[in-house]
């Protein structure tokens, strides 16, 4: 896989929405007063008559989306994930998921790489309950092109769906030909020594980690897991059986997100030692995106170190008892 520069995943969402708008007349978009930030502005300027500004009212926007869906529309509502997963959580549970309404949510500003806006805006906890809601589909694309595909795919499936994307430019490395399917994970690099399972911007870090590990003769399998729900148990089970240990990596709390999904899946199919790379049960804070990724341990370096621990545990067993999280990181 090759790098084609850097591009934020939110642009993939914005462009994917335009792709959808071209194909489907009944796609409508709701604005939450940050349409420029989450790129729904692109749809708005193409089809102003299919765009409705709801203001700063995430509860209402979500539930209005349910009403539009029950009227045969395919409504997208996008905001920052901090507000369109949490402020409207009850609405997502009841009016969207219990209703099986065909509502699509775009949750931006995910992860610590939001940068200087600080902790309130850096959502790190929403994957936990989004994947726990019945009927919900949860997608976390790894780069611009995958975000664009995922947006189109969620618009074309029937049922509630949520896509998680980021603010800052991140490596762009998949192509229109890279396979993407809801419910599937893809092996981006083969290897049998350790499996690195990642989503979002951490996939590229996992690729870098694999390269680094290869220097010491360790062949890491890199798995891109954009579909958190439904989850690809077969690919994970295969990796667990072939490699015997796993590192998960995500821009989310270490609890209950991708790492949690992998831990549950392996416990059910092929239990192996797992090391969890993610934010360690602490809130974020202001700083530059790259600086924060570094300070919060969200880089290939952390993945490499975790891979070594995972292999060590596979080969020699665990000693002592460790919590999933370590000490908080900010300041």
């Amino acid at each position: 896989m090759e790098l084609h520069g850097q591009k934020p995943t939110r642009h993939g969402f914005g462009d994917g929405l335009v792709d959808l708008g071209e194909k489907h007349d009944n796609v409508v978009v709701l604005g939450g007063d940050i349409t420029g930030s989450v790129l729904t502005s692109l749809f708005q300027s193409r089809w102003p008559e299919r765009f409705f500004s709801i203001g700063i009212a995430e509860q209402n926007a979500t539930t209005i989306a349910a009403g539009l869906a029950l009227s045969g529309k395919i409504p997208f509502f996008a905001s920052y994930g901090a507000f369109c997963a949490f402020r409207n959580a009850d609405q997502l549970r009841i009016s969207v998921c219990y209703n099986e309404a065909n509502v699509k949510i775009g949750g931006g500003h995910a992860g610590i790489s939001v940068g200087p806006d600080g902790a309130t805006h850096q959502v790190l906890e929403e994957m936990s309950f989004l994947r726990t809601l019945p009927h919900m589909t949860l997608l976390v694309p790894c780069d611009y092109t995958e975000a664009r595909k995922a947006t189109v795919a969620m618009g074309e499936m029937v049922g509630p769906a949520y896509i998680r994307f980021g603010r800052s430019p991140v490596p762009h490395f998949t192509t229109p030909d890279t396979p993407f399917e809801i419910g599937k994970a893809q092996v981006f690099r083969d290897g049998n020594d350790v499996a690195l399972v990642a989503c979002g911007a951490m996939v590229w870090e996992a690729m870098l980690a694999a390269e680094e590990l290869a220097k010491s003769g360790i062949q890491a399998r890199v798995i891109n897991a954009p579909s958190i729900k439904p989850f690809d148990h077969a690919t994970i089970a295969q990796a667990a059986r072939d490699c015997g240990c796993i590192v998960t990596a995500e821009e989310h709390q270490v609890h209950a997100g991708l790492g949690g999904a992998v831990a549950e899946s392996t416990a059910k199919n092929a239990p192996v030692p797992i090391e969890f790379v993610g934010v360690k049960d602490t809130f974020g804070g202001s700083g530059e995106p790259e600086e924060l990724m570094e300070k919060f341990g969200l880089t290939w370096r952390e993945i490499v170190a975790s891979a070594r621990v995972a292999m060590q545990r596979r080969d020699h067993g665990s000693t002592g008892v460790r919590a999933i999280k370590d000490v908080p990181t900010y300041a």
Binding site: G55, I64, G67
Partner: protein, 302 residues
């Protein structure tokens, strides 16, 4: 999806569901009063069998439902509640659903005997509306207060702003429900988009679970609040069929004339109205009558 079985009917005929249904046309005020009475009887019958559920709100709002479904207000086809041209009703106060079930049964939307399955395992008549169960006339799930009204606003937007049709959307909230901020988000949005096809009905019974509304958390003055949020707001006697129909006609005129204003009908009601021992008693918000109480109620409603 499987329907719950209807338990065998009680020995007492007062408690049995009958098979009469009423026509979807403009019934006279006297007829509406009779229909409301039958709806109330069915609410009592349902709740007595269920052994749990909400009596007060459903009984108190029976006249509103009679006017809405049998006063020539809502356009619907009981034989096809998915008819694309229908007006839609969204129950925001999900706990009041027994009155909606009784109304739909009396309109002939589904077999009246099925009312006996209320709240039983597998029923289409869930404790709070469950759209997944597929009961005709249940447009949406609800039960978390303050959400249904937003769904209704979304439907009204679809009709007026996307599909440009002449359908209308009605939604009923409680008055305690006005304490939910999301209600005011919905209201602000409805007036912003000039949804004159949207009618918000407030069941103003002055009661909620913990007591009188002004004691639990004061929502008054309701009319000023709704007016300042952009609604054409009128107050009606929620137990006077003629006044209720007048209110709905006012809304219809707002719609057909293209007023650009959503309508709010504040219906003054009494919780538990029609059953003397429940009347205006907040204690009856969330419990069913016992067998003996049900007989008394049905005798009063005879």
């Amino acid at each position: 999806m499987m329907n719950a079985e209807a338990p065998t009917s009680s020995a007492n005929t007062l408690l049995d569901f009958n098979t009469t249904t009423f026509e979807n046309k403009r019934q006279t005020p006297a007829e509406l009063a009779e229909i409301a009475k039958e709806i109330r009887r069915d609410i009592i019958r349902m709740l007595e069998r269920a052994g749990s559920g909400h009596s007060g709100g459903p009984l108190g709002s029976a006249d509103i439902f009679a006017a809405l479904y049998f006063g020539g207000v809502m356009r619907y086809n009981p034989a096809d509640m998915h008819w694309a041209g229908r007006d839609r009703f969204v129950l925001s106060a999900g706990h009041m659903v027994p009155v909606l079930y009784a109304t739909l049964a009396n309109a002939g939307c589904y077999p009246k005997a099925e009312m006996a399955t209320l709240r039983k395992y597998g029923t289409r008549l869930q404790g709070h509306p469950g759209r997944d169960m597929g009961l005709p006339g249940i447009e949406t799930s609800s039960g978390s207060l303050g959400q249904g009204i937003s769904i209704a606003v979304g439907m009204a937007m679809a009709d007026k702003l996307v599909d440009h049709n002449d359908r209308r959307v009605f939604s009923l909230t409680g008055d305690g429900e006005l304490q939910e901020g999301s209600v005011w988000e919905a209201a602000m949005c409805a007036s912003h988009y000039k949804l004159d096809n949207f009618c918000w009905i407030i069941d103003n019974n002055d009661c909620q679970i913990d007591g009188r509304v002004p004691d639990v958390l004061n929502v008054y003055p309701i009319e000023e609040k709704c007016a300042s949020f952009g609604f054409d707001t009128i107050v009606v006697d929620g137990h006077d069929p003629a006044d209720l129909v007048r209110g709905f006609d006012h809304f219809i005129k707002n719609h057909t004339s293209g007023s650009g204003k959503p309508t709010c009908i504040v219906a003054r009601t009494f919780m538990g109205h029609g059953v003397s021992y429940m009347n205006d008693k907040f204690e009856w918000h969330g419990k069913p009558p016992t067998h003996e109480q049900a007989i008394v109620a049905l005798e009063e409603l005879a």
